[in-house]
Structure formats: structure tokens, C-alpha cells
Amino acid sequence: MERGEANDGRRAAFGYRPVFHAVGLCLALAATWLLLSGYFQFLLLALGVLSVGLCVWIAMRMDLIDHEGVPIHITWAALRYLPWLAKEVVKANIDVARRVVDPALPISPTMFDAPASQQSDLGQTLYANSITLTPGTVSVDLDLQVIRVHALTADAADGVLEGEMDRRVSRVEGQA
């Protein structure tokens, strides 16, 4: 199967460790169950164990347990990236809000291709999502190493082209 082979290639490049990712998925699902229920009776804990087991088993059968389906290997790098992203999102929010309430509506919509230096689909997805999460820029299409971006203003467009977000996301990915 073509898709399967492509998957194998990508997995080899990023170190395919199914047990590591399966255990990570188990822990994440168990934590989610405990935190969402907040009950610690035997029956509910047993149901939780059953649910986690069923989910992981289905995910394994669907061949989803790898660096893409369960990207726990970048957890710490991603957590270090989040504060910077939050700061950028806040700055962009204030900028867009100011333009919305300005009677003159000072916008200059732009569409352009931004280079994405990430090596994996996961990294590119992370970068495209970061662009979209930042108000004023939305990624509208994703090709190999190129993201098509729609920006509300030329300033926002230049901010993306400057490439700091691209470099930081590549660094997150590089921790793999």
C-alpha cells in the first residue's frame, strides 16, 4: 500500500518507537479520565481502565500510534514554545482589535507563500496551526515546505515572512 510505505519511511526518519508512544497514549488517556471524572471508586476506575485499553487497542489497529498520532516526544519542547506563542497571540489580538474598532478600518489584505522549514508533517502542521491561531494571519493551503497564508494587513504578512515563528517551530520539531 502506497500510503503505508510513505508512513514507514517517515517513521524510520523520526525513530519509530511504538511502545513509547503507546505507553504515552495510555498515560494521557488515564490522566484525562481521572481528571474529568474525579471519582475514585473501584467500579469507575475499572471502567476507566477498560476504556483506556479499548481506545489504545483501536488506535493500534488503525495504525495511529506513531510520532504523528501521539506526538509526546515533543511535549517539553512544545511547552517551552507555548509562552512565546501566547505572547505573539496577545500582541496580534490587540492589533486586530484596534483595527476593527478604528472607524477607517485600516486593513490591507494580502495572500502570499511563506516558506516552512520543518522536516516533518507534524512540524508543518504545528507551524500552520500557529499561524492560524495568531489573529491577522490564516494559513489557507499547505504544500511541501510552503504555506499559503492570508493576512489581514501587510504588517502581519511581513511578520510571518520574517520567520521567527518558523525557526521556533523548527526548534520544537528538532527535539524529536
Partner: protein
Amino acid sequence: MSLALDAASWLLLLAGGAFVIIGAVGLIRMPDFFTRLHPAGLTDTMGAGLILLGLLLQAGWTIVAVKLAIIAVFLLFTSPTSSHATARAALAAGLRPLLTGEAGKEKDRAP
């Protein structure tokens, strides 16, 4: 709950509400589909974020706080994904964006 915490919480809730309203106003004021996506982002990010923070202060160190944090994480992944899907679908369906600005003008001017 102390008065300071309550005041901070209300300030965050009001600020979040303001961003939601500005987002809605922007949605109406923007000229075309693609530009409308941007103020919609205000509602998803600062609007929802500040309101969740305000509610987090109301919840204190309880399991409710954890659930609010989980909502924030879900929003972090779902809101850009749905924005991207909407924009991509519009582009694929042949909708052309209204463009007036140009990115990287300085670079183009270089000899």
C-alpha cells in the same frame, strides 16, 4: 474568595467579553470572507482565553479548574484547525480573496 481575586476574575471576564464583542463587530465590518476570518480569531483566542482565565480564578484549586484548562487545550487545537479548514474549503471552491496589500515589498524592490 478574597475581594482581590474576585475583582481580578471579573476584570478578566469583562475583558474577555469585550474581545468577543469586538470580534463580532469585526465579523460584520470586514469586507470579504477571508478578512472576516481574522476577527473571528479574536473570539477564539483572547475572548475565550480571558473568559477561561476569569473562570479559573473563580474555580480555585479544584477539579473544575482542571476541566477549564482542558477546555483551553482543546480550543488551542480545534480553533485553528477549523479556521484553516474553512479557509481552504473557500479557496478550493473558487472564492477569490479581496487583496489590496502586498507582502515583502522591500524585497521585491531590491535589484
